[in-house]
């Protein structure tokens, strides 16, 4: 049984994140821990400045609205009961929210975040600063989900030759063995022209052992754009 943490900031309940947890509960039951973080608001007084960061840098104020959190918790509990998911509720408000979330991830196999809703009130940038910071500080793999999605029917493994990318692939294989049988494409992309994939034999050998239906693609493109909507790799998947 995996222990999965799903995090909400008060007032921003992510149905997409919960839907992902529900689907992951189907092949193997999970323990789902809902973590409810304080809401983040801009300060009411606009002359907050922060040391050497310069004038105009405003600190955020964490606000814990008991009524708002209670409504979010009630929604979470109702969804868990309705879908037969074993769950826990954590709403420790004694510490700073990201510190608390980091500790939760230390004792979890996976963190699920709905990126469209996570601290959505802090701006329109995707990912926003809080989501970026959470990704950096998490001590377990993070699954970032949109609000509306189809459950994966194929996998794309992004490989750039770095140790980080291989670590991510191994973590996925260890965490989701039931998904490893899906059609899988290992994509290597580099801005510079390369004649072959770095350590090609090794990465092929490793991936082939975990992903039985594996295809390797070499693309000459900027890795930052390769998974953008409309990239032709989607056509070759079918």
């Amino acid at each position: 049984m995996k222990k999965i943490v799903i995090a909400f900031d008060a007032g921003n309940y992510s149905h997409g994140a919960f839907e992902m947890a529900r689907r992951l509960n189907e092949p193997e039951t999970i323990l789902l821990t809902g973590v409810f973080l304080p809401q983040m608001e801009l300060p009411q007084i606009t002359d907050y400045t922060y040391g050497s960061m310069g004038a105009g840098y405003m600190t955020m104020m964490e606000q814990y609205n008991a009524e708002t959190v209670a409504a979010t918790v009630a929604q979470f509990e109702s969804d868990c009961v309705h879908n037969g998911i074993e769950y826990r509720v954590h709403r420790d408000v004694t510490g700073f929210s990201l510190d608390q979330l980091q500790k939760e991830t230390r004792y979890a196999d996976l963190l699920i975040l709905g990126h469209e809703m996570f601290y959505a009130n802090l701006g329109t940038d995707h990912p926003n600063d809080y989501l970026t910071e959470t990704l950096h500080r998490s001590e377990c793999p993070v699954l970032v989900t949109p609000e509306h999605f189809r459950f994966p029917s194929s996998l794309i493994l992004a490989y750039d030759g770095s140790a980080d990318s291989i670590f991510a692939i191994k973590s996925f294989a260890h965490l989701f063995p039931e998904l490893c049988t899906l059609k899988t494409t290992l994509i290597f992309a580099s801005k510079t022209v390369r004649s072959q994939v770095p350590d090609a034999d090794y990465i092929e050998e490793l991936c082939a052992r975990h992903f039985p239906d594996l295809t390797i693609e070499i693309l000459q493109a900027d890795p930052k754009n390769i998974l953008a909507p409309g990239w032709p790799i989607k056509k070759t998947q079918c």
């Binding site: 230390r106 004792y107 140790a163 291989i166 260890h174 090794y202 050998e205 052992r209």
Partner: protein, 258 residues
């Protein structure tokens, strides 16, 4: 009939299993460690990759030079530079025979160079490394774990499992937990790599100083992916060899103080 692969791509269809590296000095095969590695290989239905490394970077110490002289006496028609190759070949045969007799699927890779660099590089593409605590590429006396082992444990990019000196099977699991992120990470990695052991009795051991209370974080341990029994043992020992022996004895006695 399978469709033809697209240009620039190819398909691989294999049974899924993990990649386990068994690291050994090419000239010094530890059969006890190999026995343990074969057990884990069979347990996880994985292929065991033997990585035999010949250290060509460091200067031979006195005992190694003496060993070369002894071998030279037996193989008088062999050039000194080929002595290590003889041992490597013999150990390679012994490795494959041992795996075959234990019904472990295996392959053998031999490398020459700086052992630490070779192992660290290959660890990036492995799920786990198995080796013995006293693995060494010299014949000089060494403390446990050996310097090579300590280096690998610090630098490897996959979990490293130290083979026991004597092994007859796994009957129960004991996890060492000291409240650090590292100890929790190690526990999680173990559960991912060896899910076949998830139904065994598992014990989490935390060593505290007299009067010290377990932190609130220990409550998180009780809802993991494997059944856990939390034992808090107060002891005057630090986690030295003496301390380790202390809590091991306590575990055997099934002392449970929560």
């Amino acid at each position: 009939m399978e469709p033809s692969p697209q240009p620039g791509s190819f398909s691989l269809k294999h049974q899924r299993y993990e990649k386990i590296l068994f690291v050994s000095a090419a000239t010094n095969l530890n059969t006890h460690a190999l026995d343990f590695a074969c057990y884990l290989s069979n347990l996880t239905h994985s292929r065991l990759t033997g990585l035999f490394i010949a250290d060509t970077e460091s200067v031979p110490d006195g005992k190694t030079a003496a060993l070369h002289a002894a071998v030279a006496a037996e193989y008088s028609d062999t050039a000194p530079a080929a002595y290590d190759a003889i041992y490597t070949e013999k150990n390679g045969i012994a490795f494959k025979e041992a795996c075959t007799s234990r019904e472990a699927n295996c392959e053998l890779i031999t490398r020459q160079g700086a052992p630490e660099e070779e192992v660290v590089h290959l660890s990036r593409f492995a799920d786990m490394i198995i080796t013995d605590a006293d693995i060494s590429f010299t014949n000089e006396p060494t403390v446990l774990p050996s310097k090579f082992m300590r280096d690998i444990m610090e630098q490897a990019e996959c979990p490293v499992i130290t083979a026991p000196f004597h092994f007859e099977g796994v009957n129960e699991l004991v996890f060492c937990y000291d409240g650090t992120p590292s100890s929790m990470y190690a526990i999680r990695q173990f559960t991912y790599l060896l899910p076949e052991l998830k139904d065994m009795d598992a014990t989490v051991v935390m060593v505290l100083s007299p009067g010290e209370r377990p932190g609130a974080d220990t409550a998180y341990l009780d809802a993991g992916c494997i059944p856990t029994i939390l034992i808090i043992i107060s002891t005057h020992c630090r986690m030295s060899a003496r301390g380790a022996a202390c809590w091991t004895t306590c575990c055997r006695n099934r002392a449970r103080l929560l």
